[in-house]
Symmetry: C2
Subunit: 222 residues, 2 copies
DNA sequence: CGATCCAACTCCTCAGACAAGCTGAGAACC
DNA sequence: GGTTCTCAGCTTGTCTGAGGAGTTGGATCG
């Protein structure tokens, strides 16, 4: 499906290109709207929309009466995009970094509420692994991993994990569509084992089992 | 410094709020520009700028002739913002997750070019630790850690690390300003030890030493 | 029933007008 | 001389009206 970009978007790309080329350094003031409009051969409102779009991406900032200023060299990373482009092996290794560390921390910090989450999500996952459609199973699996990360009680790790979720979800669905050997009891056992290690407050064991599980996933897709 | 938000920004916030509240589901079509303008009591161009801002944040998408549609439940995470808001301990634990995994992978994948980077950056770091101003030392330290992550040859880990760099930089500078006990030889020795473990292709040792080093940093700020 | 046409709706772009806010130069004052 | 005040000239912010371009769904026709 082709898609012609509106002028405002083209103008935004052009501005981004010029910023990237160093024409305007960080903190520099862009020419006025009327000047830019004349330069690019478009109307002032078009320039305004282009600037507004880049403002939304944290590249520009406009102050009434003063001007438009560069506040970021490049567009704020769109993680969804980055992860979608990245190799699946790289993504899994990123996930491994986050989740094994989360498992380690969870083993020290888990609360009774966290353990309850484990019980519920593991039960859902077991139920879903037997008869539910693929997407239910995927959501149940993600719910357990989410609970594990939550138990680490670290906002940064939680946000990192959330950034990975969309990519993990689509990949799992693709894999299940091709072959469904992945939804085996062995898998459930591995998840239970991680939860047990966290419950028993054994950081090294929890991290090790988590790493082992994700390494198995990695080798199954490679 | 106070700052009154322009109407267009307020309108964008309002739209984001309504999307978050479930008024418009993912994929739903928003009312037309004129309708929205009347609802919020602003002009059409103001609504257009608000929509354009959310389009830049990958929340909305407008198609000429069709309408404006929701393509994301929430604004794409601005990582710089998230990390700046997060607790420093949480940030360091996130860094620990990324770098120890990177060290582990680097031990398996490091190339001769990677080893050369280690030598150069370690030398720079040693020089800077003795007489250079704070910001030079910080950059030299970051350069070594960047080289370590690069040696993992994983794009996701590299991008994750880059997202952390600005926050790490400002934190280190703040700490050095308060007391400069941190720039001790012990520190340099720890860095050399990590590089050696990577050079000797020992994943567990590299990861362990990396974890140890970052844990020391964590306890020094807590 | 299927293909075609078309009217109504949508967003896209422009131009012009005025309001609101910032900045720097020069006047006025101490 | 140094400080404060004032204001003209810039900037962005907002609204309106007009037309252009694309999409959609229903009416019409074969």
């Amino acid at each position: 499906m082709i898609r012609r970009h509106p002028l405002a978007e083209q103008a935004a790309e052009e501005l981004l290109r010029r910023i990237g080329s160093g024409e305007w350094a960080l903190g520099a003031k862009l020419p006025g709207e009327t000047t830019l409009a004349a330069q690019l051969g478009v109307g002032r409102s078009t320039i305004r929309e282009a600037v507004r779009e880049l403002a939304g991406r944290r590249v520009l900032e406009s102050r009434q009466g003063a001007g438009v200023f560069v506040i970021g060299h490049q567009a704020a990373e769109d993680w969804d995009q980055v992860l979608r482009r990245a190799d699946i092996t790289d993504v899994l290794e990123g996930r491994m970094a986050i989740e094994t560390e989360a498992a380690r921390l969870a083993a020290s910090r888990r609360t009774p509420a966290d353990l309850k989450s484990f019980r519920y999500t593991l039960k859902d996952r077991l139920d879903a692994s037997e008869k539910s459609p693929d997407d239910w199973y995927v959501e149940a699996d993600l719910a357990f991993h989410r609970a594990l990360v939550t138990a680490a009680h670290n906002t940064v790790l939680s946000e990192l994990f959330d950034a990975f979720v969309p990519r993990i979800r689509t990949t799992m669905l693709d894999m299940l569509r091709l072959d469904d050997q992945h939804r085996h009891r062995h898998d459930q056992a591995a998840h239970v084992a991680i939860a047990d290690a966290v419950r028993d407050r054994d950081p090294e064991l929890a991290a090790g089992r988590c790493r082992e599980h994700l390494a198995a996933v990695r080798s199954s897709v490679a």
